[in-house]
């Protein structure tokens, strides 16, 4: 199971619809300070089910939607979709017959939030379940945020326990 592509539109600093293709192996995202690299990490965490905006460096839902620049107006909605390949059949049984699965998430300024799995409306719970057993669901060892690499070393012994439980 890999990420085949990620599409962001109206999410944080990406007002234009932008499609990132991720081949297998190593993809490096590069660019100057403040250009939007870590926002891509936030987009991935959000679409796979992160529900606490404080973990996405925001205070509320409005921080996830493009809030304008000197030349553009704020947008009314943010959407992110991720396409995962499933050739190793690691996704839960429900999705066994699909070679690819697309998960999409939208949020409106009004606060409404929608999920779609392969274009069929779904709930947050369905998305969290989809990822829970793959090792991606919880945040400890597969997605390392900026400045957090030392966390595992400076954490308390009990906090490291969660990591073990996840890998078991």
């Amino acid at each position: 199971m890999n990420i085949k592509s990620l599409t962001v539109h109206g999410f944080k600093s990406f007002p234009e619809r932008t499609i990132f293709a991720f081949p297998s192996g190593i993809s490096a995202i590069v660019g100057p300070n403040g250009c939007g690299k870590s926002n891509i990490v936030d987009a991935i965490r959000w679409v796979i089910g992160e529900h606490n905006t404080r973990h996405l460096r925001g205070t509320g839902l409005e921080d996830l939607i493009f809030n304008g620049s000197e030349t553009r107006k704020p947008m009314g909605m943010a959407e992110v979709s991720i396409v995962l390949t499933n050739e190793d059949g690691r996704l839960p049984a429900l999705y066994r017959n699909f070679t690819e699965v697309e998960v999409k998430r939208c949020v409106y300024r009004s606060g409404e939030s929608e999920f779609f799995i392969n274009k069929v409306p779904a709930r947050l719970k369905d998305v969290v379940e989809l990822f829970s057993d793959t090792g991606i669901g919880r945040r400890t060892y597969s997605i390392i945020e900026q400045g957090q690499v030392g966390w595992l070393v400076t954490a308390k012994p009990e906090q490291r326990k969660a990591m073990l439980e996840e890998a078991a």
Binding site: E70, R72, A167
Partner: protein, 149 residues
């Protein structure tokens, strides 16, 4: 689950020592339980870079802490590979020699796992299979561009 946890703990521990030695070019590292009962106790990290005495991991330098954490993350990876992984500027505290060792190991892991790394380090960019450039030519608006090194 006690049994499974115990097995996973042993598995990670074996690999942690190996990966630590690869990244530090020597030394040793192990995980220890803080109590007798696996289900009740936390996990301590005991490690020492080559030639140094075993010590409290809080005395490690900024770069040594980062490299130890990377060693632990990579050893978990070896037990339970994650379908994909995202590393946001984990190479920032490392000196040139350690960036090189990190890159070599990442390249090996990337045979079976997909990695997305964010970096300002040219050596890490050169090692990647594909590069995605982000710019804000229009201030405040992120755009994807192709990058030539």
């Amino acid at each position: 689950t006690r049994e499974r946890l115990g097995e996973t703990f042993e598995e990670i521990n074996k690999r942690f020592d190996l990966v630590f030695q690869r990244l530090f070019n020597g030394g040793r590292a192990e995980l220890r339980l803080t109590g007798d009962d696996l289900l009740e106790s936390g996990i301590e990290i005991v490690a020492s870079p080559p030639g140094k005495r075993l010590q409290n991991i809080n005395l490690f330098s900024g770069g040594e802490k980062a490299l130890t954490a990377i060693a632990l993350i990579f050893s978990i990876f070896l037990i339970k590979p994650s379908p994909f992984s995202v590393l946001d500027e984990v190479d920032a505290p490392l000196d040139d020699v350690n960036v090189e060792r990190f890159n070599m190991f990442l390249k090996e892991l990337a045979q079976d796992n997909q990695f997305i790394v964010i970096t300002h380090n040219k050596r890490t960019m050169e090692m990647a299979d594909s590069l995605l450039g982000i710019t804000m030519e229009e201030a405040g608006v992120s755009k994807l561009v192709t990058v030539e090194l």
